[in-house]
């Protein structure tokens, strides 16, 4: 079984994330980046399938990313966790690509890997947080997709998923090949072991350009984006109001505040 896990390199959410003022794209150089934490769950789920070992033919896990130079760090982290090899789609023309172009390029890359049984992704990136790329990928690759999966069972020919929806929890089945995006409820991602970190150094990572994928550079990047950011404004920090220390009447004082604001 061949599994591709899509991983994204994102600016650290606990740092001061910002935009590049010249073109309103996410600033990916001024802030330290890391593997999107929500993709760790997808990597872990792939490794659990390896560990379960019920595919007699063995399970191969390929970590794939698209992004600028530093994005290979996301692949590296996945390799340290236990993925077998990596693919980094790297091309200057990709700068500023929207979700559609991203999905189109990733679809071409998955196609180039060939004979993929399962594509695993996180539920959203922690920077753009749109949650649309996996479903778009399903359209481009013409594969079934199950999103927001909180529990996954994989057999040699199908997946059974618990999808945690807004109003109901659904059990969904699809034949392989398929695309599954997983939530942060699905598992507890492992930390890379020392052995894993050492082993990762020897694992192969291929770098592919748009030409390697047969994707026209004019169809991607900021100029081809079908949605345009007009303006970016930093939200004023919320100012701190009154904070009182409870001296036995804290609850009453809180209720008084609520009443003054007409919530009671």
């Amino acid at each position: 079984m061949k599994i591709v896990v899509l991983v994204k390199h994102v600016p650290d959410a606990t740092a001061d994330r910002t935009f590049d003022p010249s073109d309103n794209t996410t600033d990916r150089t001024g802030v330290d980046g890391l593997l999107s934490e929500l993709d760790e769950y997808a990597v872990e789920e792939a490794l659990k399938i390896v560990d379960a070992g019920h595919d007699s033919g063995g399970v191969e896990v390929i970590a794939m990313t698209m992004g600028p130079d530093g994005a290979s760090d996301a692949v590296k982290k996945a390799l340290q966790m236990g993925a077998d090899s990596g693919v980094h789609v790297l091309d200057d023309a990709l700068h500023g690509s929207d979700a559609l172009a991203t999905a189109r390029v990733l679809a071409a890359a998955v196609g180039t890997v060939g004979e993929v049984d399962l594509v695993l992704t996180g539920m959203a990136s922690t920077d753009g947080s749109m949650s649309v790329v996996p479903a778009m990928l399903a359209e481009y690759l013409d594969l079934p997709h199950v999103g927001f999966v909180g529990e996954l069972t994989v057999s040699e020919s199908s997946v059974t998923c618990r999808r945690d929806g807004d109003v109901a929890s659904q059990t969904v089945e699809a034949a392989l090949p398929a695309i599954v995006s997983v939530t942060d409820q699905i598992n507890e991602p492992r930390y890379p072991s020392f052995k894993g970190i050492m082993a990762a150094k020897k694992k192969p990572v291929q770098t592919w350009s748009l030409a390697d994928l047969g994707v026209d550079a004019g169809a991607v990047g900021l100029d081809a984006a079908l949605s345009v950011v007009r303006e970016v404004v930093k939200r004023p920090e919320r100012s701190q109001g009154e904070v009182v220390t409870d001296e036995g009447d804290g609850g009453v004082r809180l209720a008084e505040f609520l009443a003054a604001r007409k919530f009671v």
């Binding site: 910002t18 929207d98 979700a99 999905a103 539920m123 920077d127 947080s129 749109m130 949650s131 649309v132 996996p134 479903a135 778009m136 359209e139 079934p144 997709h145 999103g147 909180g150 059974t160 945690d164 807004d166 109003v167 109901a168 929890s169 659904q170 059990t171 969904v172 089945e173 699809a174 398929a178 942060d184 409820q185 984006a225 079908l226 949605s227 345009v228 950011v229 007009r230 303006e231 970016v232 404004v233 939200r235 920090e237 919320r238 109001g241 009154e242 904070v243 009182v244 220390t245 409870d246 009447d249 804290g250 609850g251 009453v252 809180l254 209720a255 505040f257 609520l258 009443a259 919530f263």
Partner: protein, 316 residues
């Protein structure tokens, strides 16, 4: 001005409040055309769509819409968009809504914007990004704009109409019949307002120590919904459906009360746009206080019951 398609968000035919918000927004930009997919379309549903100004209602009912995940709905919606030459399509920014929007964008070759907190008459959207740190104005400059709109993006304003009704005969491809729903377990009803729609939310975190009783009682006294931090959800104290934050729900109520929640960036991402924020935490250094309009430093186990009693007294 053109036709703005609104995908009706409904549970077994019961139209959700978010749909009335979408219709209100659509009226700013053009003529709202409602698309009702699946079974359950009845007088009550018709009434809601007419009260909020739908000029036309497309009804498409095919078994595939309920037997398979998302893909058939995206196909049906694409067919509706083509049938009326829509200039924009609005869907609710729920898990399913965003996946429908994603597929629709590919089918129509259109740009997509998700999680809009407002949409102007020229279809310029407002989004809150980076955990609420920035506000972004965006637009789909050409083609059919596909926009997933957050709950509470607008106050629903009635505008009675008498919409024409049209049955839409949709064709569902084999491709769209591959993720089969084999079982469905509806979420248990709580009798409380829907978390994303509630005017008041009372949330509990790790500081509750696992006892959500005081949180629920205060929520009930105030007529609000209950939320939880991921730490509380991960500990198994409260169901994930009630998690507020980056990987849970985004709420934007009039009042958000955080009890025993530190205020991590991922939690703030889900509640930062609340109008009034109140915090109860025993640690005076907790980051939640920096964004609170009112805070009490102390033990929530004594403070919350006191607030509840006082609220009940004042309401009596």
């Amino acid at each position: 001005m053109g036709e703005i398609l609104v995908l009706v968000d409904h549970v077994d035919g019961v139209v959700r409040k978010t749909t009335t918000e979408l219709l209100t927004i659509a009226r700013r930009a053009g003529d709202p055309v409602a698309v009702f997919l699946g079974s359950g379309y009845d007088d009550a549903a018709r009434q809601v769509l007419a009260s909020y100004g739908a000029t036309k209602v497309y009804v498409a009912d095919a078994p595939e819409l309920e037997e398979f995940l998302v893909a058939p709905k995206a196909e049906a919606l694409a067919q509706a968009a083509t049938a009326c030459g829509a200039v924009a399509v609005l869907v609710t920014a729920s898990a399913e809504g965003k996946e429908i929007a994603a597929r629709l964008a590919v089918k129509l070759g259109s740009g997509v914007i998700t999680d809009a907190t407002d949409v102007a008459a020229d279809l310029t959207t407002t989004q809150s990004v980076f955990a609420g740190g920035y506000t972004v104005a965006a637009q789909v400059p050409s083609g059919v704009a596909v926009i997933a709109v957050k709950p509470n993006a607008a106050t629903p304003e009635p505008s009675p109409s008498s919409p024409a009704e049209e049955k839409l005969a949709v064709t569902i491809s084999d491709s769209a019949r591959r993720a089969r729903i084999v079982a469905r377990a509806p979420r248990a009803a709580t009798g409380r307002p829907e978390l994303t729609e509630a005017a008041i939310v009372v949330s509990g975190g790790r500081g509750t120590g696992g006892d959500f009783g005081p949180v629920e009682e205060l929520a009930d006294a105030l007529g609000g919904a209950v939320g939880a931090s991921r730490a509380a959800v991960d500990s198994g104290w409260y169901p994930h459906a009630y998690q507020v934050g980056q990987t849970g729900k985004t709420v934007s109520p009039q009042l958000y009360l955080a009890a025993g929640i530190s205020g991590a960036i991922q939690h703030r991402a889900g509640m930062q746009t609340s109008k009034t924020i109140v915090a109860v935490n025993k640690d005076p250094e907790a980051p939640i206080f920096a964004m609170a309009d009112f805070g009490v430093v102390g033990d929530l186990h004594t403070i919350l019951p006191q607030v509840t009693a006082e609220v009940r007294k004042r309401k009596a």
